[in-house]
Amino acid sequence: MHITKSASELQLHGRFDAHEIQLFRSRLEEAILSSPNVRVDLQDVEFVDSTALAELVRGMKHCREAGGDLVLVSPSDPVRIILELTKLDAAFIID
């Protein structure tokens, strides 16, 4: 996976799994320092595992504690299916 970053938006590409957690966490922490409202673009993510989902949840809670929110943007089909199966689509704001 690699992550590109613009103002308060992270674009994730490739597999998002346990191996990518540290990179995602550090980029998210940087983004939250700028603004607690962070958009995470998932349209180019091919696969997401439960560890990565937990990291998204952790990020969402962190953003909310800071007075903002974490918005999932355009999740790809594999990601959308996982979000629906786990009912996590009810916990996140999805744009």
Binding site: S50, T51, A54, V57, T86, K87, L88, A90
Partner: protein
């Protein structure tokens, strides 16, 4: 020309001294092979080297701010800054080298008189290099021993965590049960547990996010909470059981940045009623005479947000019906080509299976996953829980 007695005596003395020095050098070189204890090795090298150098004091500093023990019990001397005045030591030599890990190592030699010569300085440098190597080796050994202790404790904790999974199957007329969990590492976050309370079978099947010991430790918490909830809230049904589990484990999951997908169910053989409530778990498939149905989640996993508006799915089961609850480690297993086993293959196996009982079908499913994986490694925990319903008394 003949030497007088004084010259001969001096020459013999010098030869004896040289021989003693060679023996001391041999002893010095042997020390590092005898022990891996840092203070012992350093003390012995300094003691021998002090004799070789005819020094009144020999000091070792492995860090500028931290002088360690020495052979003559002179302490608290900083690197290259021997406090000579307190000891009455008038002359010194210092050798500073880099240890293999790049840290400075300094040895100071001090005498009351007789300034150190070029040969002494070279010898001191050799001693410093020997000390640097010995200290480095001793510390590597110490780190390796500490890591071995951590690894042993990790293995023990992993085994303890896995032992929280039930080793028995419930005996209840009208239902045949298969349960197996295979962690990807020594410890995993997948779980199942069950209990028969007042003739009703209650069960939980779940998957704690993440991997390794943290997930495994949380898994044991969820099993304990499930077992307690079966006893305390069993008569109220699976929604009350799941709400109790949520109350007991939500905060610790949230604090750890984890969640658990979990399906809780109750089966009453007297009424043939099966009720389940699903918080984020997948795949869950029910098979009856009409085909297969995926039982979707009605709430996010436990630990994400406090649960509310839970709703149980309830149905009357018939002989031959089957409930299959797996973990994503089964469906996400990859082939050597990188293809995932997937929900469709699992659904097809469940739909077309003709096995005579739950255990036979469970074994078949694990075999099919193994065949699919071939030489590809197991990427996640694999758990399978099957209830096959039969004739009730």
């Amino acid at each position: 020309m003949t030497a007088d007695n004084a010259q001969i005596e001096s020459l013999v003395g010098a030869l004896v001294d040289a021989n003693d020095q060679l023996l001391a050098l041999y002893d010095l070189a042997s020390i590092t092979a005898d022990s891996l204890d840092e203070s012992e090795v350093v003390g012995r090298i300094l003691s021998r080297a002090q004799g070789l150098l005819r020094a009144d004091a020999l000091l070792l500093a492995t860090e500028p701010e931290h002088a360690i023990g020495n052979a003559v019990d002179v302490a608290k001397l900083r690197l290259g800054q021997a406090d000579r005045s307190e000891q009455g030591l008038s002359t010194s030599a210092v050798a500073t080298v880099s240890s293999p890990d790049g840290n400075p190592v300094a040895v100071s030699a001090l005498r009351h008189d007789n300034p150190f010569g070029t040969a002494d300085t070279k010898l001191l440098e050799a001693v410093a290099k020997m000390l640097a190597g010995a200290v480095h080796t001793a510390r590597l050994h110490e780190t390796a021993v500490a890591q071995a202790v951590i690894n042993r404790d990790h293995d023990t904790a992993s085994k303890l965590a896995q032992s929280a999974l039930p080793k028995w199957l419930p005996e209840l007329d009208g239902v045949d049960l298969f349960a197996r969990s295979e962690p990807a590492r020594s410890a995993g976050g997948d779980l199942y547990t069950f209990a028969v309370v007042d003739g009703i079978l209650h069960f939980s099947v779940g998957d704690v996010s993440g991997k390794g010991l943290p997930a495994a430790m949380m898994m044991t918490n969820v099993i304990s909470a499930s077992n307690a909830a079966f006893q305390r809230h069993g008569p109220e049904g699976p929604v009350a059981i799941l709400e109790a589990i949520d109350r007991w484990v939500y905060q610790s999951l949230s604090d750890a940045g984890l969640f658990v997908t979990i399906l809780v169910g109750s089966y009453n053989p007297a009424s043939n009623e099966l009720a389940v409530v699903n918080a984020g778990h997948s795949p869950v498939v029910f098979k009856d005479a009409t085909g297969i149905t995926t039982l979707g989640a009605c709430a996010p996993p436990v630990g994400v947000l406090p649960l509310d508006n839970l709703e149980a799915l309830s149905r009357i089961v018939a002989p031959g019906d089957r409930l299959v609850v797996a973990s994503d480690g089964l469906t996400e297993q990859q082939s050597p080509a990188g293809e995932m086993f997937g929900d469709d293959r699992l659904d097809k196996l469940i739909e077309t299976d003709t096995c005579s009982n739950a255990a036979e079908f469970g074994a078949l499913l694990f075999d099919r996953i193994e065949m699919f994986a071939d030489v590809a490694p197991q990427s996640d925990d694999r758990t399978l829980f099957i209830l096959e319903f039969g004739e009730t008394p």
